[in-house]
Assembly symmetry: C2
Homo-oligomer: 436 residues x 2
């Protein structure tokens, strides 16, 4: 049961002891998720009797905080096994936080050098290992604290102690696993949806920022951070849009429309993937709307997946600048983020990431269609895995059982690819990586 935890611990301790290079960090990150994924699969096989392929999928899905499942009939399963799944997600989320706050900014994966100055901890130099160890120390505490508050809030909101703890583990990690087939609507409580919204959002905001807020005792820092501010405005805007659409379709009353719309926008944009309303019965356009939310993603430095709001902002500003440049061809128009000019190499990395996300989604969708799924199911399955979101639509609307074995392996790979922000994994496949 603690296999995943053990391996991550070994990884952390290793980084504590020696000074690792950038190349090692890339290899370590990918190997950690791939190997713990395989190790974590054995309990799944033993308890549920699914195939090795499916068990690896379930385990990778947990550790990457995706939350896509090949299981059904959760309510009848042993509670210890259910808690094991939730705990895998929580450990995965912790690993992600350390990876995205301590490792990504140092390597400038997908332009994340942007966040380097904001990494907490006393050491600001380029040595990777003391930095990782120090940062991990702070992050672990904050991650635990938010989880405890979440469990408490769920308990007060009406869950029993088991469910409160189980769901807190998959909320703060934006993992989205549940102990019930009906996910968050098992409890049929809009209060619990609101509590879940709050903690999904906290899980999708940079943990380095949480640290600074806690350290400075100043919640205003959330609003002063450009990414978090835009993130919250986007969440509010998209929730209102979706609830208006649901109202015109007269599916729910005003209040219910607003609650369901906000919950699903938050669940998808934070890549948590909890369910509540019967999405299959919603008009088809709302499905694509939610998938687009998942591509937007949460804030960098959090457990959320997707392209990340910081990249959305920079992409938006680069595109706007291109149009302005057409009007004033000789003007020098810098792209700024949080008041500072964004460097060339950061822009390249961000834009390369966005293009790669778009292109690889199309190609993976094509490959998944070759395994026999239709276009809508393939497209949403890929979006669910590459953005570590979890739920798909169509044939994969309730679980991933309809996907063939080769499709399942493809999607397991897609989860690791998306979780480690593409380039971390793909660099290993360049011949250059293995030279010298």
């Amino acid at each position: 049961m603690l296999v995943g935890a053990l391996v991550i611990n070994v990884f952390l301790q290793h980084t504590n002891l020696s000074r690792i290079g950038f190349r090692d960090a890339l290899l370590f990150a990918t190997l950690t998720w791939a190997l713990t994924g395989v190790l974590g699969a054995f309990p799944v096989m033993l308890v549920t009797g699914v195939s090795f392929t499916d068990a690896v999928f379930e385990s990778v899905s947990a550790l990457t905080t995706t939350g896509a499942t090949i299981l059904t009939g959760l309510d009848a399963m042993p509670k210890s096994f259910l808690m094991y799944r939730q705990f895998l997600q929580w450990m995965g989320g912790l690993g992600v936080v350390i990876f995205v706050v301590a490792v990504l900014p140092m390597l400038n994966v997908g332009g994340m050098r942007l966040l380097k100055a904001e990494t907490p901890g006393p050491i600001k130099d380029d040595k990777l290992s003391p930095r990782i160890a120090n940062t991990a120390h702070y992050l672990w505490f904050i991650y635990l604290l938010i989880t405890l508050l979440c469990a408490l809030a769920y308990y007060v909101g009406g869950m029993d102690a088991f469910d409160a703890i189980a769901h807190s583990l998959s909320t703060v990690s934006t993992g989205g696993f549940s102990t019930h087939d009906d996910s968050m609507w098992h409890f049929q409580s809009h209060t619990l949806l609101a509590i879940s919204n709050l903690f999904m959002l906290l899980g999708a905001i940079s943990f380095a920022l949480h640290f600074r807020v806690l350290n400075g005792r100043s919640p205003r820092l959330y609003w002063r951070d450009e990414e978090t501010r835009i993130f919250l405005l986007i969440v509010i805007g998209l929730s209102l849009l979706l609830s208006l659409y649901l109202l015109t379709k007269q599916r729910y009353g005003t209040w219910e429309s607003l609650s369901f719309a906000a919950f699903h926008v938050v669940s998808f944009i934070t890549s948590t993937g909890f369910g509540a309303a019967d999405l299959a019965s919603w008009p088809p356009a709302s499905g694509l709307f939610l998938v687009i939310c998942a591509y937007l993603g949460g804030c960098a430095g959090s457990t959320a997946g997707g392209n990340k709001i910081i990249r959305d902002i920079i992409t938006f500003k680069v595109i706007r600048r291109e149009m302005q440049q057409l009007i004033h061809p000789r003007a020098i128009l810098p792209v700024r983020y949080q008041g500072n000019e964004v460097a060339n190499d950061v822009r390249d990395a961000v834009m390369g990431f966005m293009s790669f996300a778009a292109g690889s989604s199309l190609v993976l969708t094509l490959l998944l269609m070759l395994t026999g799924l239709d276009f809508w199911s393939s497209f949403t399955a890929v979006a669910a895995c590459i953005n570590v979101l979890g739920p798909g639509f169509g044939e994969v609307g309730s679980n991933f059982i309809p996907v063939s074995d080769s499709g399942i392996w493809l999607l397991s790979g897609a989860m690791i690819l998306g979780r480690l922000e593409y380039f971390t994994v793909l660099a290993l496949f360049l011949p250059m990586f293995w030279r010298r």
Copy 2:
């Protein structure tokens, strides 16, 4: 019948007489296509009796060389009207060639400053109007020459004179309109498909390069040009892949698989959109495969749509460089095209273009779904219009009649947006454009 020709002529003469600024060029380009689109619609209304909305769609589809149609029963229509449609495409194609060879590189729309040094004509300075007039002079001749050769080849290949001329007009312009409902398979000749392949490819290669080849009497220049070389290699590679797939599905014999696969890959990647095989009966994955071809696009400086091979190349190189940079964080790794380093602002413009193409496709698909189409039909309809390709799949597999009026207006806008490479049109919507 000559309304479109007249307006484009007025535009050309105007540019001949006065010195126009960059802003004027943006406004002119968009207004030219929008206004000729409306003017060209009247003959369509008069002859076929369709609504104004549908007639504008048909006319814009012709002038942007898209070739999507809201008409059916072409074979029974007056020959003069059919030739009018073909001629609109040919004029549209000529307008496009002048726009992409003379205007885009000067404005650096989507990074096209890359091609500035290669624009033919004696004047290489920054004055827009003498440049446009001079360049237009050379391009017009080459465009006409290739069209005549194409008509001759079709005639020798077995078409009657009317069809040979009609189809040459929509082949070189990569427009894709046909005088028959069965499109290119009306003639049931693999020889004609092969001839069509050759001239679609010529239409999708830079006309500035055609000029240099003709001027230097050196066909080797095609192979020495990085974009053209990669384009031809991609066409060969994708054709082989698709024919292998068709062979495994045992739909056709070896030779027929190869012919149909090559024809459809060429038809889609050059954004011509001619049809031959019954695509609706092909396995669904091949549909997405062809749509991905359309997004790749032809060469810049041609009549082809899509993202363009030059941008695909630069995007690929930026992404590869990001991975290499992870392995060697301190190395300085330039991105080169045709042996020269690609400047920062060109990279930004290219990558901004790619991200915008991906994002706007998703949003337009969502909007089209709101008008009642399913996901597959909406996605392929948007791809067909934004890449000026023409044919869609699903509900819009044979024509665009199933699309509602609001959807038709949306797609008419999408064709102009894609044809003018997004930024040209969108710059007009910035408040900055109208200041001073």
